[in-house]
């Protein structure tokens, strides 16, 4: 019995995971996931006071699910200077929206054809100099791979150089779905799934914690989802460097593949099954920008223990028809968590507790 496995802490197999995705028994799946979440994190549900910065939307890749990227010179293309980035951080830092300073800045952007490696290093050190207490979570594995190419350094040296300039953690983006067949349809120019995993492994070994994601609800099969989760679980067994897993629901607007939004039921099931399969991940995040604050809140009762943060200014998902606000206040996040019957915990980038409601 699958229940017995979960209660005794036995690992689920691929077949178990496939069965779960095929099952219609939403409530049992949710209860089992809740049981695991509570064993790991008690009644706590985490959020962070953070800010997103997207330095540029100019990108040499043309992923078909992306509505954010532009070519150089194309209408709507932009690139921020380091001064503009610092200004954005200053504007929100300690404002009444956040209540106090940001604990983390999340930086991801397009693969800019002209920016040298030094631009990124200068960006990191400028932020660190101005805001020594803000953790910098920056650059997906895709950007790291690109920086290794433009710098001529291997992955390990690229990461170590970035770390020396101020990189604290890495986000989990760019994983999309590892299955090659689907990946080549979604994002033919993007690094392969294996390369993504390789970047993460080297980052973990260099002492850089990261997150992991999975983009679902487009063309993939149940088997593709399960395969994705197991690759992450295997890597986590080796390195232990992943902090949180974040399933990302596909948004169809303004993208080349089109299609539909994932269903709210699928969102909850995917969160729950991720919690059950990824027994070596401490945290499962219901990212409210993607899921909507309503589904994210309900997801806290389906195995998630984190709803991300204040964000302030979200661009990427909103380019593809996100129906959420671009930011939330600390009070709103804490209120949603409380009303789900959980204890709101404001965390820093490394899940240290800063405030408990």
């Amino acid at each position: 019995m699958l229940e017995d496995k979960v209660f005794s802490g036995e690992r689920l197999t691929r077949e178990d995971a496939i069965k779960l995705f095929q099952s219609d028994d939403l409530f049992t799946i949710g209860r089992l996931a809740s049981y695991v979440a509570e064993k790991k994190n008690g009644r706590n549900a985490y959020f962070i006071v953070n800010r997103h910065i997207n330095p540029t939307n100019i990108c040499v890749n043309r992923c078909k699910f992306c509505a954010f990227s532009r070519s150089k010179g194309e209408e709507g293309a932009y690139e921020l200077t380091i001064e503009e980035i610092i200004k954005k951080l200053k504007d929100g830092h300690g404002s009444r929206v956040t209540g106090h300073g940001f604990s983390e800045v999340h930086i991801v952007g397009g693969l800019h054809p002209d920016w040298p490696f030094e631009y990124y290093l200068n960006m990191l050190s400028a932020i660190k100099k101005e805001f020594p207490s803000i953790a910098i979570k920056a650059f997906t594995a895709v950007e790291i791979d690109y920086m290794s190419k433009i710098s001529g350094l291997n992955l390990e040296d690229t990461l170590k150089t970035l770390k020396k300039s101020g990189l604290d953690l890495m986000p989990g983006g760019g994983a999309e779905i590892f299955a090659e067949g689907i990946r080549s349809k979604l994002c033919p120019e993007k690094i392969s799934g294996d390369r993504w995993l390789e970047v993460m492994e080297i980052a973990h070994n260099a002492g850089i914690k990261t997150n992991a994601t999975m983009l679902y609800g487009h063309l993939e099969s149940i088997e593709d989802r399960v395969d994705h989760l197991f690759k992450l679980r295997d890597l986590q067994d080796r390195t232990g460097g992943f902090q949180a897993f974040i399933p990302l629901s596909y948004h169809p607007k303004n993208t080349e593949i089109g299609g539909f939004y994932s269903s709210g039921v699928d969102d909850l099931k995917t969160i729950a099954i991720s919690r059950l399969v990824l027994d070596n991940f401490e945290h499962i995040k219901a990212y409210w920008i993607m899921l909507g604050e309503k589904i994210s809140q309900v997801a806290l009762l389906f195995g998630a223990d984190d709803i991300d943060g204040t964000i302030i200014e979200e661009k990427i998902t909103h380019s593809a028809g996100a129906m959420t606000e671009e930011g939330m206040t600390k009070e709103e996040l804490a209120y949603l968590i409380k009303k789900a019957g959980k204890t709101p915990v404001e965390r820093d980038a490394f899940y240290n507790e800063l405030w408990k409601g």
């Binding site: 699928d266 589904i295 206040t329 409601g357």
Partner: protein, 363 residues
């Protein structure tokens, strides 16, 4: 399953684990609607006027007669809206206004007749506050008023204006609106003369859990006696642009102003978890009401999909036009195709129905 009493219901509402209460509601829904079909209706809300003397504190839609953006639709404007509705496959119009102090029964009967002369479409119209106002104005009984309206062409009555059927709460929210007993009386009289109606509940404002139970119990008791409710529709208070939100004290733990309602708005809407809990309890408690509607208009499509596993079996209307919730800052626009897709991807068969829940077309 045995009928649950008020005390058990209160306990479920206050203390039950969300998944537990959801699963119970889901099981009941499966038994009542074993074919796995989720229905919807193609219709349009026509708000013939926004002038209203009731001025409820939770409402962002009403205006005074003298207000520069007060309006009263002409019959031609209404006909144009009906033409568009029929062109989109619509079978019903929801005709509802404010309570306009200058309109008497003649206005209503003329409007109904002129619609029925031109169209064969179901007129779902005039919630109990409007019916009650006409009866008082013309010194008629409720029954007489309803019969006059029905003869002119009114088919069925929407369940609006119920808000929370607890006079303690109504005194705060809507002191000028009809009391609980009057709302129930209009519905009972309508059912007695063979008209079908729906019932609604607006929660998430200033009520206590006990008030929600009182509301559900009043609906269940009336349904036992009269049996004319086709569906129950719970939805949550939407605070933006309402007097209630602007004059409310800070909502703990939200001492600082949220951006959503502006600095002065401290009243937060019921959250998704609250909505699912009330919805599930409604399914469990109202064992004599066959259909429970999910409110995608207030909750969004994704949560409405989840609601289909928490007791709901109907997706309500495609809402070719909706004005009242939109005035309170919530606007989810979707097409009929979006609704069909949403129902299917939540794991159900989608079907268009008429006012009486007869299936017209499966998708």
């Amino acid at each position: 399953m045995e009928r649950i009493d008020k005390q058990t219901a209160l306990n479920l509402l206050k203390n039950a684990d969300l998944l537990e209460i959801g699963e119970l509601a889901d099981t009941i829904r499966k038994n009542l609607h074993s074919e796995g079909i989720v229905t919807f209706i193609v219709d349009r809300n026509i708000n013939y006027t926004n002038v209203c003397i009731n001025k409820c504190k939770f409402c962002a839609f009403y205006r005074d007669v003298e207000s520069p953006d007060a309006y009263l639709l002409s019959n031609d404007e209404i006909f144009k809206k009906i033409d568009e509705t029929i062109a989109l496959g619509g079978t019903q119009i929801l005709l509802q206004g404010g309570i306009h102090p200058e309109l008497g029964l003649d206005y209503y009967t003329d409007l109904l007749k002129s619609i029925k002369d031109r169209y064969s479409i179901n007129i779902h119209g005039f919630s109990p506050p409007e019916v009650n106002y006409l009866a008082e104005r013309h010194v008629l009984t409720i029954r007489e008023t309803l019969i006059i309206l029905r003869q002119a062409g009114l088919d069925s009555i929407p369940g609006g204006g119920a808000e929370i059927l607890s006079d303690r709460v109504r005194e705060v929210l809507s002191p000028k609106k009809i009391k609980s007993s009057q709302w129930l009386n209009v519905m009972e009289e309508a059912h007695k003369i063979g008209m079908r109606t729906t019932a609604t509940m607006m929660f998430g404002s200033v009520e206590e859990p006990e008030d929600i139970i009182e509301h559900l119990d009043a609906i269940r008791s009336l349904q036992d006696r009269a049996g004319g409710f086709t569906a129950f529709i719970p939805w949550s208070f939407q605070p933006k642009n309402t007097e209630l939100a602007q004059n409310s004290p800070p909502h703990p733990p939200l001492a600082k102003g949220g951006r959503r309602g502006g600095i002065n708005s401290k009243l937060y809407p019921a959250t998704a978890v609250d909505y699912l809990r009330v919805l599930a309890l409604s399914r469990i408690y109202l064992d004599n009401v066959k259909n429970i509607q999910a409110s995608w208009v207030t909750q969004g499509l994704k949560l409405a999909q989840v609601a289909l596993r928490f007791g709901a079996n109907d997706f309500g209307s495609t809402m070719i036009e909706e004005n009242v919730v939109k005035a309170a800052g919530v606007s989810f626009r979707v097409s009929r195709e979006d609704i069909i897709q949403a129902i299917k991807s939540a794991g159900f068969k989608a079907a268009q129905r008429d006012t009486y829940y007869k299936i017209l077309r499966s998708f």
